[in-house]
Amino acid sequence: MHLYEFITHNWRELLALAGEHLRLVAEAMVLAVLIAVPVGVLLTRRKRWQRPVLGLASVLQTVPSLALFGFLIPLPFGGIGARSAVIALVLYALLPILRNTVAGVEGVDKSVREAAVAMGMTGRQILAQVELPLAAGVILAGVRVATVISVGVATIAAAIGAGGLGTYIFRGLRQNDNTLILAGALPAALMAIAFDWLIGLAEARIGAGTARASGRVLRRRVALAGLALVVVGALVAFSAWRGWRAYVTGRRAPVVVASKDFTESVLLAELLAQTLEAQGVPVARRYELGGNLAHDALTAGEIDVYPEYTGTSFTAILKHEPVTDARAVYEQVRREYAERFNVETGPPLGFRNDFAILVRGADARRLNLRTISDAVPSARNWRAGFGQDFMSRADGYQGFARTYGLRFAAPPREMDLSLTYRALAERQVDMIAGNSTDGLISALDLTQLEDDRRYFPPYEAVYLARRDPLARTPALRAALERLGNTISTEEMRRLNYEVDGRHRAAADVVREWRQGKGL
């Protein structure tokens, strides 16, 4: 789908996301100015503190944004959603505003300051009438830098469920869809440029107090700036209204359904959400949480239920060594989640999303390959490409190669998981490790080789739900029971492909599937 077509079809959502984005940035900037300007002024009065405070602000700015978001989730004032995102944006914005406030106030002409003192102005009068007005241009330049940074960082906020234009970017990255990436990145870039220009204008306006731009040019600029402000204000208001509505429905919604940040997780969450709504249970959706945020949010009580894989819970959350017996893994996850997190594990959904060792279908047919062991002799002439995750994790490449005695022509290429499919289809590599339910497996005519030595641990799909909402909402337990054992691996592949390959909306795909199943 082309960008133009995408935008014309999705302009409502795009506008909502842009509004969320603006609101994150606007709230963060107001807070950052309220904090950094007074602190910056204080630093000009207590010069000894300048180095440690500015140093701290610099350190904050070097913390990777995703790490900072992750760090904020478990804190009482953090959590998933916009609040943590705004806090992170504020932390990033402190340094440029602090530094420019200090520079601006200290840059006030010595003779002007001396005159102010000698005229009998009090410290407060000098600050309000002389230092701040004269430093305003420099301070505003700092705000400008901070704002442009924030527009960029706010795209990452989508990973913790704060929404904004990053939602499209992450979705596009996951689905290998450049149109989606552009639909998020382009408006964000435009927004950054617009802020840069707008605040630059305000800077010029302040300078004009002493320099005097020609009246007509100035009036035209002010009119343009006013127009831009109206647009920004309208978007922020729109987003605030939506936020309020979401808040109101969120309060009525007894069940908060979340998903991790990949298509299958979104599909499974949406399936549960629609099933609940069909029972008349209001649902709040918190989709596309990055990394292990869904788990953190579940144990923090921010969300009620999300789809997970037993293997992930077993190794990544409970930190056990990989085990290959699916039944044993499920039982242990169920027991430990109940004890440690007060979380119940629903019945398996019927399919597994294991690591899938994939080769081109043509090769499999030509060489008559069915199992991984069949492929070992051929592999000596092959190249392999694996995702970073597979290369590094405990149940990944090292043990896999050892178990099968696999040797390749060259060490495996490490690349982004979504790129390995394309690399395999385009014959740049000959073997990859994908996910067994990936829609691209059928779409690209790939063959999954059987794990005949049972190396890979099982990744059965299940719903994890907190006990509280289960007790509160009987319909939730009923829905979990009913969805048990309803989706085959083949079906899951098809659903995934509808979204990833054909770029359809997850909600529509789920609705059709439910109708087809007569649910």
Binding site: D109, S111, E114, A116, A118, M121, Q125, L134, T210, R212
Partner: protein, 252 residues
């Protein structure tokens, strides 16, 4: 205003010293000096002789490290510093005008701080601008950077006079001006001083200016007053440094 005409000395230095930590010699040492009501006392000396420091001790921009500076018979440290400064006009070399204020707002500064009514402030600004030779209608709305050096210095003087302070401190106010402008401003200063009857302490390194404007001249060297004399006495003095200064006049 807090004028106390019964005290003849507006400002008195009593064994005043001022030392800066880390500096071997004090900037001012054991200075005794009286400034009489209505006179213009010129502090004359080379750069670094302590004349600007002496001036800054008067409105408590600096506090003496030894001795006492009395203003109207009261130690500067006993004054409320804000009150002391508002009744002391201050003019510096580059005027120190607020670049983001118009001429009118610059001049109106102290009256506004003192809480004068708006109409009274406006009238006062017009009066002062006229007094220093700037037509109010033309100059009131301008910003400092739209003025020449001489015009800025006139605004600086107007600002210092705005709240009618009994004491004026002037730190080389005409030092950065071209000779013709300087001569004009010096003449105007003389006529202003005679009309307004202000007490004035005037810092300069220009002996011609000192002789022209001073009722008395304090010749300073290394933080001390070396010679205190009227201009006539100064011309006749056999002090070595005074003679050296006078010699520069004959060269012209």
């Amino acid at each position: 205003m807090n004028q106390q005409p019964d005290i003849a000395e507006v400002v008195s230095f009593r064994r005043v010293s001022y030392a800066v930590p880390g500096l071997a010699a004090p900037v001012i040492s054991a200075l005794d000096l009286d400034v009489r009501r209505g006179e213009t006392l010129v502090l004359l000396g080379e750069s670094g002789c302590g004349k600007t420091t002496t001036l800054r001790l008067v409105n408590r921009l600096l506090v003496p490290t030894g001795g006492t500076v009395l203003v109207e018979g009261r130690a500067t440290t006993d004054w409320d510093e804000i009150e002391l400064r508002r009744r002391t006009g201050y003019v510096i070399q580059d005027a120190g005008l607020f670049p983001h204020f118009t001429v009118a707002r610059n001049v109106a500064l102290v009256p506004t701080l003192a809480g004068w009514a708006e109409a009274r402030v406006g009238a006062r600004v017009d009066e002062l601008l006229a007094l220093v030779g700037l037509e109010p209608a033309r100059f009131a709305g301008r910003y400092p950077r739209e003025l020449s050096g001489g015009q800025r210095q006139r605004v600086g003087v107007a600002r210092a006079l705005a709240a009618d302070p009994p004491l004026l401190l002037m730190d080389e106010p005409f030092g950065a001006l071209d000779p013709l402008t300087r001569a004009a401003l010096q003449r105007e200063f003389l006529s202003l001083r005679d009309r307004l009857g202000k007490t004035c302490i005037f810092v300069t390194h220009d002996v011609r200016e000192a002789l022209l404007l001073g009722t008395r001249i304090a010749l300073m060297e290394a933080g001390r007053v070396r010679l205190l004399a009227t201009p006539e006495e100064f011309r006749q003095s056999d002090d070595e440094l005074a003679r050296a200064y006078l010699a520069t006049l004959q060269l012209d």
